[in-house]
Point group: C3
Chain length 243, copies 3
């Protein structure tokens, strides 16, 4: 499954909707037992949530957008298929979340790439289920430090703390992902799926229980003047960088 | 305490019953403050649950067997004594569980030995309290990967992820276990026991709360045609290996 | 914030009260966004809870003392400021707890210094919220071993298991703490504070829910004859060492 929402695979509402439809098709295709998630955009796996969806829109729009983000997480984190992230570019914020949802993470050894939940650097806050997913992946203390400082890790750093499972030279990432997939597919699906569900269900249930309040939280946070101003400044900075 | 149920220390119902009686005797012997768990069988610590107890028997038998497995875990994980595993052979599945129940794990540095919860490889699933015990030992992410793939680790790998605490040359394992025991016995029993209970009680309470449903789960899972067939194939493979 | 309760920064009731007042002043000072916690005593960060407050006093005194210890933890662990521990000396028991409450820990690379929750060595038991704080810092298994054996770690060992984040030569500890503080203060306060609260609130809530019973526990434990005798023996040993 190659994500292509150029230039940076931003997770816009349209992109998330399309992603969910594609994922569901594969999920229902009995011939498909595993999926490799990778990027068709140069140098970036996914830039994360699309800031344009969080700026200058209506409360209804924010709620619809956030529900789609939740849905992406719920489906990907609980997928019955074997999911492998072939992280062939930078992967901040929501891009890091997608990678963490997979069963296994392989990252290209390019020193220009980075990965992490860097929300606090933009003055916003990763929601509790982003946090839970990271705690499940790298433990409590590394998550605390990562989230408070909004850290982005280089590939060797990400590997060291367990945020990715394996590093490979960039040109070998797809073949390595295929090799790892064979290893995972050698396990009987039924036993693997029950095991995965046992590991992840408590985390999923937390969001399901608080899904509505989490949407309300997001909407009331993102509509604050101070937050809208932070995002505006961030977008202007991005424009200047391009220019 | 040297386990001897030759050839491979399978945890049969008889063996578990005998084990529980021996453990209780030591537990009630005020002169005994610690126990070293090791194997009298060559090259194997324990092969885990006896497949013969899970194949072609009645539902009543499965329930009785599973209750004994639960009881073994409950007693060993909460033992008031200092428990040290001297892992002098391979230790898959239930054998790994026994080792993880101890306060400290020393493994012989023999490259032919391996340790891990490999249930999914046989098409079956480790129950939640096996999973909880492993999460308590090596953390969430390493457990997730271990259980989904049914991984068996070599001694250096097991040491690296924290599944065992120490590696020693095979001929020194008993003397090292005795030395470590002295270190643990230097701590006042009362303070150590309260601390151990504080660390482990929440995990124990989860099984106590769901003990009956866990037995029902096991019985309905193991009596499935597909699972019985998987076990049959596995036993035939074992026979062929021997032959 | 330099602790000076000579000779060893024992956490007496008076010292805790003064500490809480100072911390609250800084917390309410809008010009103060971060605090570096360090020691003015030679060779010791803090010796932990003052044994004199736990020996030969009334139940009312014990209850008042314990409430102050709880209060110190509640305030420091949830501080809105960036808190950095510059551990310029040994830091057993309650001293280790204070360090673990901070957002970041830097320790002087002096082989004579050690850090850890060594309560069981004195025959007493770290309460559940000491344990929770350690689990949040170094994970479940390392905590279990640390607490059961009452381990004190050398600086390199403490760094290896994640009990401290960074080691520096002793003469550079204050300048390094200032440099790290700049890094943390570069993050918008609001986003960092919400994130910190999200990470730590569940742990804090556990004590708040059981605060009274935790005080009762402490009082009934510390008033036991056997415990009073243990503490007396420990104090005599300390006196002899000095002599």
């Amino acid at each position: 499954m190659k994500m292509e929402n150029l230039p940076v695979n931003s997770l816009s509402l349209d992109f998330l909707t399309e992603f969910l439809i594609s994922l569901e098709k594969l999920e229902n295709d009995r011939g498909c037992r595993g999926v490799i998630l990778t990027s068709g955009a140069p140098k970036i796996f996914s830039a994360g949530l699309d800031i344009m969806e969080m700026y200058g829109k209506s409360a209804e729009h924010y709620a619809e957008f956030w529900k789609a983000v939740q849905e992406m997480w719920l489906r990907l984190y609980q997928s019955n298929m074997v999911t492998i992230a072939a992280i062939n570019g930078s992967s901040p914020a929501g891009g890091c979340l997608m990678a963490m949802c997979c069963d296994y993470r392989i990252m290209a050894e390019n020193p220009k790439y980075s990965i992490g939940l860097n929300e606090t650097q933009l003055g916003i806050v990763a929601p509790f289920w982003f946090k839970d997913t990271m705690v499940n992946t790298i433990g409590n203390r590394a998550t605390e430090r990562s989230l408070e400082l909004g850290l982005l890790y280089s590939p060797p750093e990400a590997h060291k703390i367990g945020l990715v499972d394996q590093l490979v030279p960039e040109e070998k990432i797809q073949s390595m992902a295929a090799a790892v997939m064979s290893q995972w597919l050698a396990i009987p699906d039924h036993a693997r799926q029950i095991t995965k569900s046992m590991m992840r269900k408590p985390t999923v249930d937390r969001l399901l229980t608080h899904r509505e309040s989490d949407i309300q939280n997001f909407v009331s946070f993102i509509t604050k003047d101070s937050i809208q101003k932070s995002l505006q400044m961030y977008m202007e900075m991005l424009k200047q960088r391009k220019g």
